[in-house]
Amino acid sequence: MKLLRTIKNYTLTGEKKVNVQVRDGKLHKINNRKAAFEIELIDNDEYVIKVNEKSHLGQVVSLKQNEVTVMINGNTYNFTVETELGSKRKEKLTKDAGKKVSKTTAPLPGEIVAVLVTEGQEVHKGEPVMILEAMKMQNEIISPISGKIKALHVKADETVMKDQALFEVDPGK
């Protein structure tokens, strides 16, 4: 009954897609190339990753379920690790479900100085929904999709943390 495989394929999705093949629990190929790399732990939480003779300094920022954030040479990479089954499922679901309610979170900590819409209002993609003031600069928080404002989670003058939920847009049918 056990579906044991010694070779497993994973897809890492993030800003860029990376395919990884794992053989017997070890990294084998990355993007279909036999990977020539070493990962070495040098400090409490710091790694040196050698890829093609070049060294990169890396840190694991967070691991939550199948979402991994690492920092390489000071740059952040967010990945979602999908197993083969997971990738198939995702394809299937996106095809079936169409669009989903989109949630927007605060990109940086600051204060909401203005909320430009009300709940239930129609918004277009790219239309500003709120103004977030951070470091004395006003940033427009725009709607990522066209639809109806389903919920506003913050009010004007409220202080928000990074990643705090701001609003939801429902793309409708």
Binding site: D45, Q65, N66, R89, K90, L93, M161, Q164
Partner: protein, 513 residues
């Protein structure tokens, strides 16, 4: 090679026909919905080759001649990382996983066994609800399952994994268990579905809005854990089990790892902003105290003003309850109180010591909170902490004001140790508020009220809102350097290993529900 003697022939034939039931079509039906089959789910969950199915060949009442075995549920036992666990997995491909009499009887059977033998039980739920064809008999089936859930409550860990629909009466079994896991996009839980809502209230709602995983993980708090896909959901269940004892007489499993130091203890004091009104993320504090990477947060998207989860401290499992200053300043509200109270009671039931990290400015004020009985809900947390007999330690990181201070496992509510950081402020209320009330008259009469107020606030901080007043009166056991927090806790919990407390004999307390 199969033994071909007569008694074995039939045995093998039977097994083969059961296997044949799981054909291509069986898999593709579920896969087409983005779901796994019951067989695959059990495979992912259990140690390889450890699962033994029982009652595999039963058939539904009155349909003894039909071909399919099992009546839409696979039940049995096996091991997860070497520890014995009972499992049942509903099979949506057979009559929509609907619960008939035999189906229910099978589930009750493993429930009874798990209780008798003292091992956790995991339910993998994917069912359309009661089997209408069998009428009241199927309802009675639910009742039996619920009864077993309640009997087992607090004796063995019960985990419900919702991997498809769970509608109507079916939702109450998960509700009675200790933890509910859900998978994004494919699992739903609701008492009445969108059609009924439309008919009765004439409201248009989607499955997602009514009982999607996201809604339950954030708004209702029904789902303790939410995952992106089924594989990771099942991994999450395995991970949770690694923190839990098999029953209420055992202690939680102890790790034997050596590389557990979180490192950088000196960073702890720097995590707190200099300004007492500025938020920070208490999860960062937890990570620097507990064993490296061991913190497993529960219900992280619901009532985010309180953080709960399991972690290991020097390899031993500890339940963490922490106010989260970055959300609603860490105020206690209805949802936070309920979330924490339930967790505290779970930990107490299963011998998991409790660590409280306190930074709470008070209870959430407002009409909504009061009208929705924050009094009763806040009392739940109070009751839970007071009733808990496991080792209980509180560290006051920053604010500990008023009623909320009492609730968060204060010394006089039975906290075994109360430590405080030098940044702590223990008082009936915050400096600004206190000055407004205490010095109302002086402020009104002053020529320069702003200046006076500033002076009074500074005085209040100096004389009242610090850890030293409470320390000198014995309400705090010790003020500690944040950098030594981990070591102090390890020592204190070791000291508490043999703690016992008894409450008077009674049928059960009357908790403020």
């Amino acid at each position: 090679m199969n033994d071909n003697r007569i008694p074995f022939k039939r045995f093998h034939a039977r097994n083969e026909s059961l296997q044949a039931q799981y054909d291509e079509k069986y898999y593709s039906k579920q896969h087409a919905k983005g779901k796994l089959t019951a067989v695959e789910r059990i495979d992912f969950l259990m140690d390889e080759g450890s699962f033994r199915e029982i009652d595999a060949f039963v058939k539904p009442l009155g349909k003894e001649n039909q071909k399919e075995y099992g009546d839409g549920v696979i039940v049995g036992y096996g091991t997860i990382n070497g520890r014995k666990v009972f499992v049942y997995a509903q099979d949506f491909t057979y009559m929509g996983g609907s619960l008939g009499t035999v189906h229910a009887r099978k589930i009750q059977k493993v429930q009874e066994m798990s209780l008798k033998m003292g091992h956790p039980i995991v339910g993998l739920i994917d069912s359309g609800g009661a089997r209408i064809q069998e009428g009241v008999a199927s309802l009675a089936g639910y009742a039996g399952i619920f009864m077993q859930n309640v009997k087992s409550s607090g004796v063995i860990p019960q985990i419900s994994v919702i991997l498809g629909p769970a509608a109507g009466g079916a939702v109450y079994s998960p509700a009675l268990t200790d933890f509910r896991f859900m998978t994004r996009d494919t699992s739903y839980m609701f008492v009445t579905g969108p059609e009924v809502v439309k008919e009765v209230l004439n409201e248009d709602v989607t499955f997602e809005e009514l009982g999607g995983a996201e809604v339950h993980a954030t708004e209702s708090g029904v789902a303790d854990m939410i995952f992106n896909d089924e594989e990771h959901t099942l991994m999450g269940v395995k991970k949770l089990l690694s923190y839990l004892p098999s029953n209420n007489v055992e202690n939680p499993p102890v790790n034997q790892d050596e590389d557990i130091e979180p490192g950088k203890p000196e960073k702890l004091s720097l995590l707190l902003p200099d300004d007492a009104n500025k938020p920070y993320d208490v999860v960062d504090v937890i990570q620097l105290i507990v064993d490296k990477g061991s913190f497993y947060e529960i219900a992280e998207n619901h009532a985010q003003n309180i953080v709960i989860g399991l972690a290991r401290l020097n390899n031993e499992v500890t339940g963490i309850v922490a106010n989260q200053p970055k959300v609603l300043a860490g105020c206690l509200d209805i949802n936070a109180s309920k979330k924490a109270a339930r967790f505290v009671r779970f930990c107490d039931a299963f011998n998991i010591p409790l660590l409280v990290l306190e930074d709470v400015p008070g209870f959430m004020p407002g009409k909504y909170q009061e009208q929705n009985a924050i009094i009763m809900h806040g009392a739940k947390l109070l009751y839970a902490f007071a009733e808990a007999t496991v080792p209980k330690i509180t560290i006051i990181l920053r604010k500990a004001f008023g009623g909320a201070y009492i609730v968060m496992n204060s010394k006089n509510m039975g906290g075994d140790f109360n430590f405080a950081w030098p940044t702590a402020q223990v008082a009936v209320m915050g400096p600004e508020g206190a000055v407004k009330i205490l010095n109302r008259k002086e402020l009104a009469e002053s020529d320069n009220p702003e200046e006076l107020r500033r002076q009074l606030v500074a005085d209040y901080k100096e004389n009242v809102a610090n850890p030293y007043v409470a320390d000198e009166k014995g309400y705090i056991d010790e003020v500690i350097d944040p950098a030594e927090t981990r070591q102090v806790l390890i020592n204190a919990f070791a000291l508490l290993e043999n703690k016992f407390e008894q409450s008077p004999t009674r049928k059960h307390g009357n908790m403020p529900l």
